[in-house]
């Protein structure tokens, strides 16, 4: 089958090739649509990642606190969001929650997806943050407290700085997963890459080109996330710890 990459330069109404590939004056090409869809994918991913890291860190810390009740809250959160399929969670946020809590109906689908995806991933982030903290020798916590630091000071100055460095690699995978999982936003009518692929391949009958381009966009996004994370990891490296050179 011959390739037809010109399909991206076509106007999405007249199906004629537009010079320069980007539409102007009301005309919209498939390339315009692809770029617009990519923006949505990135917006959902970045916003959900922020929610996931913030909430996930909090819950992860809760799960390592001495108090039993805090641990129960943390574990309940983690198990709730970890054991329900992502797509089901998105539908719950979109269709069920607004019925139970009417003001939620006014919230745009974008924020519902960000919450859904963010909370889902926060359960996984919490698990990793908890593992990071627990991987530190118990003596570190005791030493911090023995020095007269309060519990929160012990966390801030002793435990978390090392725990975070330990969990950067698994957190990187979570961040990449968010980019890929953002395709569920399609289920609540956000025009992201997966939605674009379904629609454009139907209109143009060039499914292979369309899916390849979308694959490339997902790959590039996730790859950039991975590179950024490895830069962060290098910046934050403590000489002598975690295999870094002295």
């Amino acid at each position: 089958m011959p390739w037809d990459w010109q399909v991206f330069c076509k106007d999405n109404l007249e199906q004629t090739v537009v010079a320069g590939c980007l539409g102007s004056g009301g005309a919209v090409t498939y390339l315009d649509m692809l770029l617009g869809a990519w923006k949505w994918t990135l917006a959902v991913s970045v916003a959900a990642l922020l929610v996931a890291l913030l909430v996930g860190t909090l819950i992860g810390i809760l799960r390592t606190l001495p108090g039993r009740s805090w641990r129960i809250v943390g574990e309940a959160w983690t198990e709730l969001f970890r054991n329900v399929p992502l797509l089901v969670q998105i539908f719950l946020w979109y269709f069920v929650v607004p019925v139970l809590v009417p003001p939620m109906a006014a919230l745009p689908p974008f924020w519902l997806v960000v919450m859904g995806l963010g909370f889902f991933t926060s359960a996984r982030v919490a698990e990793q943050v908890k593992a990071g903290i627990e991987s530190l020798p118990r003596g570190q916590r005791h030493a911090g407290l023995a020095l007269g630091l309060s519990l929160s000071q012990t966390y801030r100055h002793v435990l978390l700085p090392m725990a975070f460095r330990i969990v950067i690699p698994p957190l990187t995978s979570e961040s990449m997963n968010i980019v890929k999982n953002s395709s569920v936003a399609f289920a609540v009518s956000i025009s992201e890459l997966t939605q674009f692929a379904m629609q454009a391949q139907e209109e143009t009958s060039r499914g292979i080109e369309v899916y390849l381009a979308v694959t490339g966009a997902y790959f590039a996004s996730a790859f950039v996330v991975a590179r950024c994370a490895s830069l962060v990891e290098r910046w934050l490296r403590v000489p002598g710890a975690l295999g870094a050179k002295r």
Binding site: L13, Q199, E202
Partner: protein
Amino acid sequence: MSSKNLMNKTLLALSLLAVAAGAQAEDTLKKIKASGAVTMGVRESSGALSITTGDNKYEGFHVDLCRHVLADIKKQLALPKLDISYQAVTSQNRVPLMQGGSIDIECGSTTNNTQRAKDVAFAVTTYVTEVRMAVKAASGISSIAQLNGRSVVTTTGTTSVQTLRRQERASNLDFKEVVGKDHADSFLLLESGRADAFVMDDYILAGNIARAKKPADFRIVGEVLAVEPIAIMFRKDDPAFKKAVDDSLKALMKSGEIEKMLSKYGVTPSAVTKAAWAAPNDNPAESYKK
């Protein structure tokens, strides 16, 4: 992604391979006679035309028509028994599956257009769909112009998305366009108030309204945004099979039986559909454009 979807994708890939391997245009009647079996391509959510009732059972106007046609073919071939198996298809895989021979006759909601006629063939048009909009009866919306600034839903992977886009560009209206992932989802958006109107083929709107909790709450209104002929699809270059299907359908059109078969699903034929039955033809969608 559901496993069914995955299965469909696999089937699509396999049938693409079959096409690539150079599957010959085959004689469907001969195939049916030799095997005593036929595979019908059906849709899972095409409103009154073709829909699943669960458990691999299907019903709808086009499914009934195909069963009738196949019964006639069984008689014509003097077969003691004809096994009909059903294969759910999607708008993405129906043409490759047909070309690859996985299905022999597709009874869904395929628009007959010149683009598709390069790959497959169509029976005489059995239903002419008009793209209109469904709204909540209480909304008071009766024309597309009233939708300016409101949210309008349509379904991903349908020509209605383009129809809506064309309307928007031609009329200088500004819709908040929402796309449902399938018809049921789009209708849910209308029902839950996230969209003010659902723009789609009339039989899909009618089918969804009929299955709604309170059908009286919804109304199909507004001008006709597009007209498209829908037909039963089969393989290209198979004149004997086309004649057998067409003859069976034409007899139903002549006797008036076809109208009863359609009204069974709560759809009254429009003037354009009646015109297509009065003078059976397989004209493509392009000939319906003014």
